[in-house]
């Protein structure tokens, strides 16, 4: 499967840039590079890439600030790269408009899968009334969820949680975002509610609840609805 879309990579490390260029071009993407935040903003404005890969650790400016500036006018997906164990940065980036994240070191196959999912998500028309994920279907119009054709009984909260995640499938939603959307601002710290409902939902919609394939945990950050 080839792709002729252009991807902008903002990263100051030469070796990572070279590696990304080779692996992404193997999958058919065009790549442009920026070694600094300033260059990155210019490149994003002039080339209008389909996706931006942004390293949060840049020499000339804070990656987070760059992301916020970019988001003022750039609407296409942004994937952030960060070093491990900086979960706070990742959460900030996701809440600040990043679509996905990857921690270094990562496998290029993983990166390409994330790129494709992000692009597909951004280009998909969201007007289909029925979302399909393997054997699971969600009828948004009639509020009916089916697994293998059989109706799954869900409570109101479970249904809102499922549709929130499913509508953003492929994208990581942070705990705070989900809690705010489903329970409201007063519940931002109550992650235990979220855990309980996710466990309930898994029992109802997953083939194997202890090895979930739809409701995927992004440890310390949030959840991603897989497909």
């Amino acid at each position: 499967m080839t792709d002729d879309r252009t991807i902008l990579i903002i990263d100051d490390e030469v070796q990572i840039r070279r590696l990304l260029e080779i692996s992404l071009s193997t999958y058919g993407f065009n790549t442009i590079f920026a070694a600094s935040g300033r260059e990155g903003l210019v490149a994003a404005a002039t080339h209008s890439p389909s996706l931006v890969i942004l390293d949060l650790g840049l020499p000339d400016m804070d990656g987070m600030k760059l992301l916020l500036t970019l988001r003022e006018w750039y609407t296409k997906p942004v994937i952030v790269l960060s070093v491990r164990s900086s979960e706070d940065d990742i959460i900030n980036a996701l809440d600040g408009g990043a679509n996905d994240y990857l921690t270094k070191p990562f496998r290029s196959g993983e990166l390409v899968a994330r790129i494709r999912a992000a692009i597909r998500l951004s280009e998909e028309k969201q007007d289909t009334p029925v979302l399909e994920f393997g054997t699971l279907s969600i009828d948004l119009l009639n509020h009916v969820v089916r697994r293998n054709g059989e109706i799954v009984k869900l409570t109101t909260t479970e249904y809102s949680l499922l549709t929130l995640l499913a509508r953003n499938s492929g994208r990581v939603l942070t705990h705070q975002f989900i809690l705010k959307e489903i329970w409201g601002y007063g519940y931002l710290e109550q992650t235990q509610y979220l855990r309980v409902f996710i466990a309930q939902l898994r029992k109802k919609i997953e083939e194997n609840p202890s090895n979930p394939t739809l409701l995927i945990t992004e440890s310390g950050i949030g959840y991603r609805f897989g497909s």
Binding site: P105, T156, Q192, T217
Partner: protein, 509 residues
Amino acid sequence: MDGRLTTRVTGLLRNIYPYLIVILIIGLTTLVCLPLSSPQSYHIVSFILLFVVALLAAFLGIGPVLLASTMSAVSWNYFFIPPFHTFHIARTEDRLMFFSFFIIALLNGILTNRIRRQERAVRDRENQTNALFRLTGGLSGARGTEEVIRVAAENFRTSLGAEAQFIIQDGNGHLVYNPDPDDRNTPEKPDRGTAEWVFSNLKKAGRFTPNRPDEPLTYHPLTGAMINPGVVALKIEEDRYRNRDAFWDTCCSHIAGALEREFLGEMATRARVLGESDRFYGTLFNLVSHEFRIPIAAIMGASDTLMYPEASEENRRALYSEILKASARLNHMTENLLSMSRIESGRISLRLDWHDVTDLFQRVTQNLEQELGQFRLVTVIAEEMPLVKIDFGLLEHALINLLLNASQHSPQGSVVKMEALYEKGNLILRVSDKGPGFPGESLPHLFDKFFRVDGSPAGGLGLGLSIVRGIVDVHKGTVSVANLETGGAMFTIAIPSELPDMNHLDLAK
């Protein structure tokens, strides 16, 4: 100079006072007794005067007592012994009486005075003993040089009436002067020259001593058995210092002893830390040269071979997989080293949140898909397992390390088991294998840094288990290991975790 003059004048006055009192009181007594002046009753006056002299002797020094005896004898003679108003004594028995009066007054005065002095000396010694007792008690409880100095200075101030300033050496024989704290209340700063002189000659100097007596402070050397910790400068009143040389020497030697003890303790710690960091670097060099080189060699060799166009497709795949494996190994080792340094430096911060153990196990299993591919991984989570408050990332790391450890010591195809349960407020995580277990003597050292069981396969830093312990420690939990009777070893982690508040959770909604 003015100040010194004033002290001299006040000192003189203080010395004159008792004599004035004596003159006044004897004069008054004489005046009061004048009506009794008759040839029949002058004996009674002698008793009254003797009584007054004894009374004065109980309060005054030897000089005033002498004056009192003389003055009372003279006034008795002049005013009361007939013929009146002359020093002449007419009768022989009166003359005898006069002399014995004088002697008795004198002896009386001197003896009373001596008893009083002795009593004062006893009380003084008692005070000194108490002060010394308090000082040694305080010093033996003090930990660290700073605290010893603080305790000593406080004792000097409260029970000995002395302001003490300590000048302590740096461990290389150089005195360290505290930078001026710019505090108005600080007493006079010690003179550096005198302090240095005392420190190098180990002799007292300054006020009340034969060496440099013009200095306003008194300097005592602090002399230890092996090290001389420094010098103490005292600001003290003369009567609290003079004639108590032995006492002050004892105080100083106690303080010197306590300081020396701390000095030696600190030196030993420093030596141990140095030794440990030496060993640490030694091990680290070993690791970098050996453990890191293996995967690097694999990556270089494999990529080099991949450059040859002749390589078969099958070989290529094998080489790619080698590169992946080697880099995963490098990554794992780097993460362990970084984690270790974070744990050691205390820079690790706990991100506690409610988590589902299912997520934890799933994540760990997913991460180790390749490494545990040749084992049968069994995961068991107790029914009704509550949510637990943990740092997900850290515990994930701990479990990964335990599982990797199990995989290194177990035969291929054997069962590796990972369990979770909740018991008495604790999350219990167990990882067990069917390997040979650990040699008994190695059990206490398994969680030590860089410890590796003899004969264990290559490919580890000996850091994995100490990281597990570090992670469990920051969770305020415990980790233990035991050999199983059925073969293999089992690690058990227990982490305290309360139950989540589900008050406002309406599951039915």
